[in-house]
Symmetry: C2
Subunit: 181 residues, 2 copies
């Protein structure tokens, strides 16, 4: 579906970083006028709704520099180039939580900020977790703390704004709809 | 909560656009090492879950240049500088749908991409909609088409990836949990 398609007349890359690229596109609008679009290119991401044998939800707390505070989120991470989302989800789960699984169910996917970024998140579910025999290394610049919470405890953290991101908010509604107590 | 806080040692603005700014911060990590963080600054946004008297959900279809395709989303828009989120939500509802309301309930708020952006969305609900006597103008570069769908119809669009963004996906789960049919 390309309703109201905007034709690109020029595209200029402003910045290429290790996480995002920024480009500004000049476009022709449906009414023939022109405008500029600021676009963030992102490799995409995965996230995992992971339930322990004790029926707790697995979270990680980490510092989020753009917000200048830490958030409690479901395990997640960026897609590596060429990596299949399901493998990426398993890798991030292992690195961030020390758990692994052989069963990841794709719940859904969504764009996080379609107005200015192309980031897509693939969201998985598993309730068959096994502890890894050996810890896997996080990225050099990554520091996370594992938390295992009941749904009720997680909803308390939503009220306190310690859980405060879209994918984790979605995960909590998803678990409520699945009938988790 | 500032667990694993990263201290900023320098911050460089790379780009300032009409929607986003991009800066690169040099930080000291919890282990004393240094790293760089690419940060998108965004004014924040509002979105409205709006239910018509006929029990339909109000959506708008629009072209999303970062994705090079159109999506069906709940009405939403950027916060203007200094504007209260509730007023912004009412304004966007009026501009994009031709409906207005005097009752907006704050459902929740969430950051969309806390790893690289500070965008927050304030999400409202209303089921008391009135048609505006006179149409309000959209922004010059904004083209949207109104759609009013049942929950079942909306879920079909999720399957077709025409509804495919975080806030709208959240809205659909929220309405299911409220018991909407």
């Amino acid at each position: 579906m390309n309703k109201f398609e905007e034709k690109t007349t020029s595209s200029k890359q402003i910045f290429e970083g290790k996480v995002v690229k920024l480009q500004v596109d000049e476009v022709t609008l449906p009414d023939g006028n022109t405008s500029k679009r600021e676009i963030i290119k992102h490799p995409g991401a995965v996230a995992v709704i992971a339930i322990t044998p004790e029926e707790k939800i697995v979270f990680v707390e980490q510092y989020r520099k753009p917000l200048e505070k830490s958030l409690v989120e479901i395990p997640a991470g960026k897609l590596e180039i060429g990596e299949k989302p399901e493998l990426s989800a398993k890798r991030e789960l292992e690195e961030e939580t020390g758990y692994t699984t052989d069963e990841l169910e794709l719940v859904t996917s969504f764009y996080t900020s379609p107005g200015f970024a192309d980031e897509i998140i693939y969201l998985y579910f598993t309730n068959t977790l096994y502890p890894l025999a050996e810890e896997k290394a996080l990225d050099d610049d990554e520091f996370v703390e594992l938390m295992e919470l009941s749904l009720e405890e997680a909803e308390e953290l939503v009220k306190e704004n310690r859980i405060h991101d879209a994918k984790t908010a979605y995960a909590i509604l998803y678990l409520k709809l699945r009938g988790m107590k």
